[in-house]
């Protein structure tokens, strides 16, 4: 019911609907989703119902990964996809 709402995404630098924020992290919402949306509707409650406790924990209770670490993860995943 909130999917059509729009906001300016500080990461992208443009307007996006809430539906985008829910899928930004692939199988997870964007890590900024609460920071951006909570003032407009109770997104925290909404997501608590929608996400599993494990997903919630992965998204919000873990320190952000070091950029270099996430790059190495992406490199390894890309190598696999390319059969290297």
């Amino acid at each position: 019911m909130y999917d059509h709402l729009e906001i300016r995404c500080p990461r992208l630098g443009g307007e996006v609907p809430f539906s985008y924020c829910q899928e930004e992290g692939g199988d997870l919402p964007c890590q900024r989703v609460i920071t951006c949306w909570q003032p407009y509707f109770p997104v925290e409650d909404y997501l608590k119902e929608k996400l599993t406790p494990a997903q919630w924990d992965r998204l919000f209770n873990q320190a952000p990964e070091h950029k270099v670490t996430s790059l190495v993860e992406l490199i390894e995943a890309a190598k696999k996809r390319r059969g290297l």
Binding site: E6, I7, R8, C9, P10, R11, L12, G13, G14, E15, V16, S19, Y20, E23, E24, G25, G26, C30, Q31, R32, I34, T35, C36, W37, Q38, P39, Y40, E44, F60, N61, Q62, A63, P64, H66, K67, V68, T69, L71, V72, E73, L74, I75, E76, A77, A78, K79, R81, R82, L84
Partner: protein, 453 residues
């Protein structure tokens, strides 16, 4: 006639970048390999970065020479002018001098080419023929496109689909500079094809675009990946800005009390601020402020009062607009969110309390940006408006405290490709969040017993 701009002669452009890692008061934790748990080594990054940039990423040398070939390209728009914002000062009517470094004069209109040029050069020097990258709204993609063209490299930019559709002009800029701008997810990579098979109408995301750009580079000996923010070498290249600014201020005998920049990944903020951080580490009294986005309600709804700057009450009492030190907006309950995506160097300096992060909501920032355009003339990139909002806040504080201040900030780019965002603001499509009065009253109980300024 009072002077407005301070110029440097081309011969005065800094010949070295400044590396803050040499002056860090405490060591930063090394990034760990997700598989082995050991610190990430050069070989782990070699599939996507040339070794000369990896060396810069881990370097702790204080000064790193800027190659002649890079300086030659910088001179197309550098040294950039330092301005005194006299008209904005008049509007604010506060005891402040406001200086800003105009990074919007570069060909793509932002600070991004400071590292794009350097990265293109180092890749070329390493024998690379093609660079791949991702971009959100296109500021970075357009900067790298120009830089690659200047060094004879092919450039492929994966642009998040939703932005590609919304902002065709950035894509056209990339094409003019000879790059191939591809909406992501695309059918060019396995990662993109998988997403499209499941969600043919996917709007994409930065995460998908990064996966595509990396996959595009991995396994091709002639190709590498390029990132426009966050990493140490990116921040290093940006310091040419702050080093120029120091020379310009020295010419007019001024030193700032506060240095401000907007921060997403941290590169434009770092570019201006890190040379001043060096001064601070060596004893100068200066505030360094990172202005970041939030949707939290504006703090100006609270009174100007003495309060602690943090919930732990470890800072001295500060006179500020406050909703009480224990006011924690609901979004910030979730740990670590505020610094998600910020450069490790910046996060570390914030943690060490050498610099501070302040959040501004989008209404505040557009209000400040429109005031700015109506006085100084320049239409700022929406991200730059965060820095202007912080300038307004600093000026209001100076007025309340009756203290004279010199404020310096980074005008990181123009907003001429972002006019749709201004239209949304001007036509009232951006909604101001109004915090209930009872919530404000509850938060303010925390400062009941503290002295009043």
């Amino acid at each position: 006639m009072k002077p407005v701009k301070v110029f440097l002669d081309e011969s005065e452009i800094p010949k070295q970048w400044y590396n803050v890692l040499a002056d860090m008061p405490t060591p930063m934790s090394p990034p760990l390999h997700p598989g082995t748990g050991q610190p990430v080594g050069p070989d782990d990054l070699a599939p996507v970065f040339p070794m000369n940039l990896i060396e810069q990423e881990v370097s702790t040398e204080r000064w790193i020479d800027i190659p002649e070939e890079v300086l030659e390209k910088y001179l197309l728009w550098r040294p950039t002018p330092l301005y005194r914002a006299r008209n904005f000062e008049k509007l604010l009517d506060a005891p402040v001098q406001i200086y800003y470094k105009n990074e919007g004069v570069s060909p793509p209109g932002s600070h991004k080419p400071n590292t794009a040029i350097a990265q293109a050069y180092y890749n070329k020097a390493f024998g690379i023929k093609r660079l791949s990258t991702e971009t959100g709204a296109g500021q970075w993609g357009s900067a790298l496109s120009m830089a690659c063209q200047m060094f004879g490299l092919e450039c492929r930019v994966f642009m998040v689909r939703v932005s590609y559709d919304q902002k065709p002009f950035r894509g056209i800029m990339m094409n003019v500079w000879g790059a191939n701008c591809i909406p992501s997810p695309s059918d060019k990579t396995e990662a993109g094809r998988k997403i499209l098979a499941e969600h043919p109408d996917s709007p994409g995301s930065l995460g998908i675009a990064i996966s595509e750009a990396i996959e595009d580079a991995v396994g091709d000996e002639d190709a590498r990946y390029s990132l426009g923010s966050v990493l140490n070498h990116v921040l290093l290249h940006q310091t040419v800005n702050g080093l120029e600014t120091q020379k310009q201020l020295e010419k007019i005998g001024v030193y700032p009390d506060v240095v401000i920049g907007c921060t997403g990944g941290g590169s434009n903020f770092a570019g201006l601020c890190l040379p001043f951080v060096r001064d601070k580490i060596h004893g100068k009294e200066i505030s360094v402020v990172a202005a970041e986005p939030t949707s939290c309600p504006t703090m100006t709804r609270g009174p100007f009062a003495y309060d602690f700057g943090d919930t732990a009450q470890t800072t001295p009492l500060l006179a500020m607009y406050t909703l009480g030190h224990d006011f924690v907006p609901a979004p910030i309950h979730a740990g670590g969110l505020r610094y998600h995506g910020m450069a490790p160097i910046i996060s570390h300096l914030v943690k060490e309390q050498i610099m501070e992060a302040r959040a501004y909501n989008q209404i505040q920032t557009f209000e400040a940006g429109v005031q700015w355009a109506r006085t100084e003339g320049f239409i700022s990139a929406p991200e730059t408006n965060h820095a202007i909002a912080a300038v307004v806040q600093e000026a209001e504080r100076a007025k309340e405290e009756g203290k004279e201040k010199v404020i310096l900030f980074n005008w990181s780019g123009h907003g001429l490709v972002d006019l749709a965002a201004y239209d949304a603001y001007l036509t009232g499509k951006l909604q101001q969040y109004e915090m209930p009065e009872e919530e404000i009253a509850r938060a303010l109980q925390a400062i009941d017993g503290l002295p009043k300024p």
